[in-house]
Symmetry: C2
Subunit: 318 residues, 2 copies
């Protein structure tokens, strides 16, 4: 690892975010990395308490993820799902046999009254990781999308309807939108070197975390450098529905928009080297810009982008 003494909090959600998380996990000493993870996508399915973003981070960091889909496990089988289909169950969500065990384990622990934070720590340890994977909240904060056909849940939008509905607004609903103690501790840590916003979908993966007042405030008041990696190259998203969503919500698809969205919360942003012409506009609103290749596919590229983020934090701090 190139940065054994650097302590980082990353905000992460989705497959795009997990790519940088993997890079950070290899550039840093694992015990110095806390990854606050979106739980706005969590849902109940066939009695299971499913946390897609937490699972994606754990599987990715543990190296057991399906590298083609980005979600789920490698060498997965679908025996249970096949029989469920035969039985006529509504199987819109892909439950692999190995993946199922994790949902089963978490659901069992939840029923026992364990906190999501505790369960996640146990799972992370079982997968051989020292990284602190921290759910943003121990209480449900649920992402809903306002569409032409009314309000729908994230999983309905993302998985069942494959992001087809036109979205006019995004809502985060919670009876108890409070950050966990572990999240508050991580963000208040005096020895922290910086905060990194992974190249996740800002609206669907990062905003649920920022919707929790305490998290937003702790990031806003943070003295150490905070940098984001843009999920946009040119006028399109690197992955997923970010650009479609931005278009529908009347936001120009560009890294400038991403920087504006995070204004007040970040000190710097890494944008793609092909978008150099956007740098000026971003610097005008007081956010530093670093150029890089932000499309990362190989393990080496992910580590390289993570190291550049850490380098950027050092540059801003000095």
């Amino acid at each position: 690892m190139k940065y054994p003494d650097t302590k980082i909090v990353a905000l992460c959600g989705g497959v795009g975010g997990a790519k940088l998380a993997l890079g950070l996990n290899n550039a840093l000493d694992q015990k110095n990395l806390s990854i606050i993870t979106n739980t706005g996508d969590d849902f109940l399915y066939l009695g299971f308490y499913i946390c897609p973003d937490i699972d994606t981070v754990i599987y990715t960091l543990a190296g057991v993820n399906n590298s083609e889909t980005g979600w789920g496990r490698e060498d997965e089988t679908w025996k249970t799902l096949d029989v469920l289909k035969e039985l006529g169950a509504d199987t819109w969500f892909q439950l692999g046999d190995k993946d199922l065990a994790l949902h089963l384990f978490r659901s069992k622990e939840k029923r026992k009254g364990e906190l999501l934070t505790t369960i996640t720590r146990r799972l992370t340890n079982k997968f051989g990781l020292k990284t602190h994977v921290l759910p943003m909240s121990n209480h449900p904060v649920q992402t809903f999308l306002e569409t032409e056909d009314g309000e729908i849940s994230f999983q309905d939008y993302f998985v069942r309807q494959k992001c087809m509905p036109k979205v006019s607004n995004i809502l985060f609903k919670s009876k108890k939108p409070v950050a966990t103690d572990a999240v508050k501790r991580a963000l208040s840590d005096k020895s922290l070197d910086g905060i990194i916003f992974c190249p996740s979908n800002p609206f669907l993966s990062i905003d649920p975390m920022l919707s929790i007042k305490k998290i937003r405030t702790l990031i806003k008041n943070q003295k150490r450098p905070r940098v984001a990696i843009s999920p946009i190259v040119g006028h399109d998203s690197v992955k997923g529905p970010t650009s479609k969503l931005m278009n529908e919500m009347g936001i120009e698809v560009s890294s400038v928009s991403i920087a504006e969205h995070y204004q007040g919360l970040i000190d710097g942003i890494i944008i793609d080297e092909t978008d150099e012409e956007q740098a000026g506009k971003i610097e005008e609103i007081g956010i530093k810009v670093k150029l890089s290749k932000i499309i990362v596919e190989t393990r080496e590229e992910k580590i390289r982008l993570a190291e550049e983020s850490l380098e950027f934090i050092q540059e801003i701090a000095s």
Copy 2:
């Protein structure tokens, strides 16, 4: 099928009982066969509502059972269980990947408020059967065993402790020990030709059903012939812990004891041809005896024993 117009109710539980159920299912028109099934072994495990005896009957009749173990499905895999073990979950109960789907489906339907009878009918249909597999009750009736170490549940005794504890008594606990409407209808059916007690464990598989007053009364007052097939050959049980249990409870291990146990509820019993010397004692208490080979392994043998049971019913009726 040899008996297309004969209508039968069978009482069944466990792997031994399912063998005769398979025979009956092939000797009769499926729609004329109702199998009242023990649910005293039902339990909750990892959030699943599991009905081992119903599953064994369905899998066996559908021809998808594991013919070596007698329980579970053929060509089964154990991916979920393997990962659960890695995660440190208590995996004392064998959950195959295909089998899991059935537990998942039933649990989902139960949470929706469906009756066990309705769910079982749907499952039976999905497996291509016209047979009426009828849970004895829609409400929990749970089998407990009094042992030297206190009272333990059936699954704890049977699976976890492999029938090792010494049993002094068997209890059936229920807040609402009522027969289902479907069971009452089947046992009151005017066109019924007879009732068959499958060669199940009388104490652990049949007694839970007889512990429900209405079931016992309807069988007791039944005018059509009622025959049992003994699960004992010589002084040992054909399968499972029946003889161990009888010894511990101070009951002589013999078909005579089985006949005595069912006294007042059966008109005839099929015992093994090698036990001919026991026939006299059984006939003394007013129960007719038919001799046969009661150890059945092949499909043909199971059908043969079923046909002999039906023949016996005809003999008694005439």
